[in-house]
C-alpha cells in the first residue's frame, strides 16, 4: 500500500503524541499515582503503535508496543512507577523521536532497533529493578546532529572548524592537484561567523562569492549546498586555489561583516586523507559522523561493539540521522495544522473587509468624489481584498482526492457482490473544493456510483447481446468550470427508461396519470429525484432502499449545488453535479424589484433580455417567451417575492434568463443595479422557511439585499 500521502498526517500526529508522552511522563515523575496520566500515556503509546504499524515502520511499532505493554501493566497495578523506569521511558521517547526525525527527512525510519531500550522495557515488566538502559546510540546521535559543534574535542578534529581536518573525496583531491600544477596557491581557510549573526547562510555566501572572484573553491565543509540551507553551525572550512596572497584572501573574508575570525594557511594536499583511507567518518557526512564517534567513545556505558568498530558507527550514523544524507532537505513540506474555526474567523474578517471596501466605493460615489487618487487607492484596496479572499479560500481548499480514493476499492468489492465486471475510471481527483464541500460530497457520490454499478451496468449476458464490451465502464470526472466545480458520474450501461420511471411514479402516486401524460422524457427522468422513489424491482443491499436520489439531490442542494442527469436508453447515463467553488463570497448581479435590491448569483445567469409585453405568449396558462427559438417560461419576480413592481404594464420588461442545468427561465425584474462581489450571510434558524431566499448580503451602505436562489424557481 502506498502510504506516502498520509505521511504528513502521520508526522503531525506522531509529534503531537510524543509531546503528550513527554508531558505526561514528566507529570508522572512528579506524581507516580496519577491514573489519568497513566491512561493518557497508554493511549498515546497505543495510537503511535497503530500509526507506525499502518505506515509500515516496524522498529517504531515494536518500541511503542513495548512501551504500551509497560503501561498496560502499570494500569493493572502489577508494576509501580519508579525513577529509573522514568529514565528508561524518556530514553524510549528519544528513540521514538529519532525515528520520527528520520522519517521526516527520508521517509525511512532507519535501521536502529534500539534493542537495549526494548530490553530495558522488558526488564521493567519482568520486575527486574533495571538500571536505565545503556545510553543508546541513537540519542547521542540525535544530539550530535543538532549540535555538531559539541564534538570539538574529539580526537580527529572537526573539519568544519579547522581546515587541517577537512575531508574530501578523490575527485576533489585530484582537482586540487591539477590547480596546484596550474601554478595556483592552495590555501586552507576556516571561517567563524559571529554567533549573533542571523543570516549566517547569507554571510557564508558572501565569503564564497568573494573568494570565487579571486580564485576557485575546490572543496568546502560542510558542502556548499548545506551551507546554503543553513545546515551548519557558525564554522565552515574550505580549500581555495588562487593567485592572491594569504593575507589578501584573509582580507576578502574579513571584509564580509559579522565574521568573527578567519584562519588561513598553506594547504598541503599530501596531508589530506581521502575518505576512503580514513576509517572512521563516513564519506558523505564526515562531520556528524565524527561527532557521532566522539560521544560514543566518551560514553563508557555504550555497548563495546558499537564504540569499537568505527565503520559500523558510521553506517549507523547514515541510517539514523538524516543530516548525513547529502541532500538532506525534509521530504515533507512544512505544514501547520489550523483549526477550521480559526479559518472561519479569518474568512469572516475578509468578508467584513470586502463589505467595508464596497462601502467605501459607494460612499465615494455618493459624495461625488472624482479625485483620481481616491479612485486609485480604492482600486488598490479592492485588489488587495480580492487577493486576500482568494488566499484564504485556497487555504480552505482541499483536493477531492481524499474523498475519491475509497471508490476504486468499493467498485472492486462490488464486482464480486454483483457478479458483474466493472471498471472505474476517475479523472480530476486533484480538483480542489472548499473543505466542507469535500467532506459532504462523499456520500452522494458513493450513492451515484453504486447506482451505476447496480442499476446502470447490465447483466453480462445482456451486455454481450447488445454488443458492448464485457467490462462495464463507470466513470467519475471532476473538473473546474468557471466559478464552479463539476463532477460527472456515469456509466455505459442501460440508461434510464423514462417510461418505466413514469409507470412507477404513477404506481407510487407521485404523479397522476393525467399529469404523466403531458410530461416530457426529461421531466420523467427528473422524477427519480422525488422522495421515496426507487425503480429497482428488487431491493438490493447496494442501492434501492428508496432513500436514494432525493437524498443525493437535497445534499447537493444544501451545498448550493445542482444535480441533473443525462441519459440515453441502452447507452448509459451521466449524473452531473455542479458545486460552487466557494460558499462564502460570490459574484452576483444586483437587481431591483419593488424598490428593494436583490442579488442573483452570476453563475446562474445566462443572459439579460429586453422584452416587449407583446412578445409574451401563453402556453398552458403560463407566460412564456420565445427566446431565440426555445420556449422559455417567465416568472414575475414581484409576485414570487410578494411585492409590487414599480413598472407600468405597457413598458418593456427586463428579463434575466437564469439556468439550471439545461432548464431556462426568465425572471421579470424592475431594474438592474450592476454586478458586485457579495458576501453570503445565512438567515439563521428563525427564517428558514423561505426556499426562494438562500441568504442575504450586506451592501456597502449597510442595507441588506436578499440573495435569490433561482434554482427553486426554474
Amino acid at each position: 500500500m502506498d502510504v506516502s500521502q498520509y505521511l504528513g498526517v502521520f508526522l503531525d500526529e506522531a509529534k503531537e503524541h510524543i509531546q503528550t508522552l513527554n508531558d505526561s511522563i514528566m507529570q508522572l515523575e512528579e506524581d507516580p499515582e496519577n491514573e489519568d496520566c497513566i491512561n493518557e500515556i497508554f493511549r498515546a503509546a497505543h495510537s503511535m503503535k497503530g500509526m507506525a504499524g499502518t505506515m509500515g515502520y516496524k522498529h517504531m511499532q515494536e518500541l511503542t508496543h513495548h512501551m504500551e505493554d509497560v503501561f498496560s501493566d502499570v494500569r493493572n497495578g502489577t508494576i509501580k512507577i519508579n525513577s529509573s523506569m522514568i529514565d528508561t521511558l524518556f530514553q524510549c521517547l528519544d528513540a521514538v523521536q529519532g525515528y520520527v526525525d528520520n522519517i521526516t527527512e527520508t521517509q525511512d525510519e532507519g535501521d536502529e532497533e534500539n534493542a537495549n531500550i526494548v530490553k530495558a522495557l522488558e526488564d521493567i515488566r519482568s520486575g527486574k529493578a533495571a538500571a536505565p538502559a545503556p545510553a543508546p546510540a541513537a540519542a547521542p546521535a540525535a544530539e550530535a546532529a543538532a549540535a555538531p559543534a559539541a564534538a570539538e574535542p574529539a580526537g580527529d578534529g572537526d573539519g568544519t572548524k579547522d581546515w587541517h581536518f577537512i575531508q574530501m573525496d578523490e575527485d576533489a583531491k585530484g582537482n586540487i592537484e591539477d590547480l596546484k600544477e596550474g601554478g595556483k596557491k592552495i590555501y586552507g581557510v576556516s571561517v567563524k561567523i559571529q554567533e549573533s549573526c542571523i543570516l549566517k547562510a547569507a554571510r557564508a555566501f558572501l565569503v564564497f562569492k568573494g573568494l570565487e572572484d579571486v580564485g576557485e573553491i575546490a572543496v568546502s565543509q560542510p558542502s556548499s549546498q548545506d551551507i546554503e540551507d543553513e545546515k551548519f553551525d557558525f564554522n565552515f572550512s574550505l580549500v581555495v586555489a588562487t593567485e592572491e596572497t594569504a593575507d589578501r584572501v584573509k582580507e576578502i573574508v574579513m571584509n564580509v561583516s559579522e565574521i568573527e575570525s578567519c584562519d588561513i594557511g598553506e594547504f598541503d594536499i599530501s596531508q589530506v586523507k581521502t575518505a576512503a583511507e580514513e576509517p572512521a567518518p563516513a564519506p558523505a557526512a564526515p562531520a556528524p559522523a565524527a561527532a557521532q564517534a566522539a560521544p560514543a567513545a566518551s560514553a563508557p556505558s555504550t555497548p563495546a561493539a558499537k564504540a569499537q568498530t568505527a565503520p559500523e558507527a558510521a553506517k549507523e550514523a547514515t541510517g539514523t540521522t538524516a543530516a548525513k544524507k547529502p541532500a538532506g532537505k525534509p521530504v515533507v513540506s512544512r505544514t501547520v495544522r489550523v483549526d477550521t474555526e480559526k479559518l472561519d474567523v479569518l474568512m469572516n474578517l475578509v468578508s467584513e473587509l470586502i463589505i467595508a471596501k464596497n462601502g467605501l466605493v459607494s460612499a465615494a460615489n455618493s459624495a461625488g468624489i472624482v479625485s483620481g487618487q481616491v479612485n486609485e487607492q480604492i482600486e488598490y484596496l479592492e485588489s488587495v481584498a480580492t487577493n486576500m479572499h482568494e488566499s484564504v479560500m485556497k487555504v480552505r481548499m482541499v483536493p477531492l482526492e481524499n474523498t475519491l480514493q475509497k471508490f476504486p476499492r468499493m467498485i472492486r468489492d462490488l464486482n464480486k457482490t454483483l457478479g458483474k465486471k466493472l471498471e472505474l475510471t476517475m479523472t480530476g481527483e486533484e480538483t480542489e473544493l472548499d473543505r466542507t464541500v469535500v467532506d459532504e460530497i462523499g456520500d452522494p457520490l458513493m450513492h451515484l456510483l453504486r447506482n451505476s454499478a447496480d442499476h446502470g451496468i447490465e447483466e453480462p449476458a445482456i451486455r454481450a447481446e447488445r454488443g458492448k464490451p464485457e467490462v462495464g465502464q463507470i466513470f467519475l470526472h471532476a473538473y473546474q468550470d468557471g466559478n464552479s466545480v463539476v463532477i460527472e458520474v456515469g456509466d455505459d450501461g442501460n440508461g434510464i427508461d423514462a417510461r418505466a420511471v413514469k409507470e412507477r411514479a404513477i404506481e407510487r402516486g407521485v404523479v397522476s396519470r393525467e399529469q404523466a401524460e403531458t410530461m416530457t422524457e426529461k421531466e420523467c427522468v427528473e422524477l427519480l429525484f422525488h422522495p421515496g422513489f426507487s425503480t429497482a424491482k428488487v431491493v438490493s443491499e447496494i442501492s434501492g432502499r428508496g432513500v436514494g436520489l432525493d437524498v443525493v439531490k437535497s445534499k447537493v442542494e444544501s451545498l448550493s449545488g445542482t444535480v441533473e442527469v443525462k441519459t440515453k436508453l441502452g447507452e448509459g447515463s451521466t449524473w452531473i453535479i455542479r458545486l460552487p467553488l466557494t460558499l462564502a463570497i460570490i459574484q452576483a448581479l444586483m437587481i431591483v424589484v419593488g424598490g428593494d435590491r436583490y442579488a442573483i448569483p452570476l453563475d446562474n445567469i445566462q443572459s439579460i433580455e429586453d422584452i416587449a409585453p407583446g412578445d409574451i405568449k401563453f402556453v398552458e396558462n403560463r407566460e412564456v417567451i420565445n427566446l431565440r427559438g426555445s420556449v422559455t417560461p417567465i416568472i414575475r419576480l414581484d409576485e414570487a417575492l410578494e411585492t409590487e413592481t414599480s413598472r407600468k404594464p405597457g413598458e418593456n420588461m427586463i428579463v434575466v434568463i437564469v439556468k439550471k442545468g439545461d432548464l431556462r427561465a426568465g425572471l421579470v425584474i424592475d431594474d438592474l443595479d450592476g454586478q458586485q462581489e457579495i458576501v453570503i450571510k445565512t438567515l439563521g434558524k428563525y427564517i428558514n422557511k423561505c426556499r426562494l431566499i438562500s441568504g442575504a448580503t450586506i451592501l456597502g451602505d449597510g442595507s441588506i439585499a436578499l440573495i435569490i436562489d433561482t434554482n427553486t424557481l426554474v
Binding site: 468578508s351 467584513e352 463589505i355 428593494d596 414570487a640 417575492l641 410578494e642 411585492t643 450571510k681 445565512t682 438567515l683 439563521g684 434558524k685 428563525y686 427564517i687 422557511k689 423561505c690 426562494l692 431566499i693 442575504a696 450586506i698 449597510g702 442595507s703 441588506i704 439585499a705 436578499l706
Partner: protein, 158 residues
C-alpha cells in the same frame, strides 16, 4: 429600593430593562439583551410567519426581527421616534430582534421578589401567555417577559 434591601433578604439582584408594548410594561433580564437599537428599515422576506417582519443588519450579522404586537395578537406596530428594536440573545446565542414601542427604564429586583408564574401545562404547549413571572419593586409591579415564549414558534399554526 434601599429600604427593601435593608429590611429583607431580596436574594440575587437582577437588572431588568422595562419596555412598553401597547399599554403593557414588560421587564427583560438585562443579561438576555445583546443590544438595543433605534427602529430601522427592516428588509422584508416573502413567505414568513406574519409576525416576522424581516431582517436587519447588526454589525454585519443578519438578525431576524419580529413584531411582538403581532405575535401577541395586538394591532400592527406604530413606528414612532420612541420605537426601538431589542436584540435578544436566543438559544445558541442566535440573535433575534423584537420591536417595542418604548424603552422606559432599568429596574433592579431581587430574585426573591419575583413571583414565578405557575406553568403546569408548560411541557405541553404555550398557553398564549408571554409572562414568566411578576417582579415587585417599590415602583410597582412589572411583568417579566417570557423569552422562551417569544422565541417559540409553536403558536405559528394559529
Amino acid at each position: 429600593m434601599n429600604e427593601l434591601r435593608d429590611t429583607a433578604d431580596v436574594g440575587e439582584l437582577i437588572q431588568f430593562i422595562v419596555i412598553r408594548i401597547g399599554d403593557e410594561q414588560y421587564g427583560i433580564d438585562i443579561k438576555d439583551i445583546d443590544n438595543i437599537v433605534r427602529y430601522q428599515k427592516v428588509t422584508k422576506i416573502p413567505q414568513l410567519a406574519h409576525y416576522l417582519k424581516g431582517i436587519i443588519n447588526i454589525r454585519g450579522v443578519i438578525v431576524p426581527v419580529m413584531s411582538l404586537r403581532l405575535k401577541m395578537g395586538i394591532s400592527e406596530d406604530e413606528i414612532t421616534d420612541k420605537s426601538r428594536i431589542i436584540i435578544l440573545k436566543g438559544e445558541g446565542n442566535e440573535l433575534v430582534g423584537i420591536i417595542v414601542d418604548e424603552v422606559n427604564q432599568v429596574l433592579t429586583i431581587g430574585s426573591n421578589n419575583i413571583e414565578k408564574m405557575r406553568r403546569d401545562d408548560r411541557a405541553k404547549r404555550y398557553d398564549g401567555s408571554f409572562i414568566s413571572g411578576v417582579g415587585h419593586s417599590e415602583k410597582g409591579l412589572v411583568s417579566i417577559l417570557d423569552l422562551a415564549a417569544v422565541e417559540n414558534d409553536s403558536l405559528d399554526a394559529e
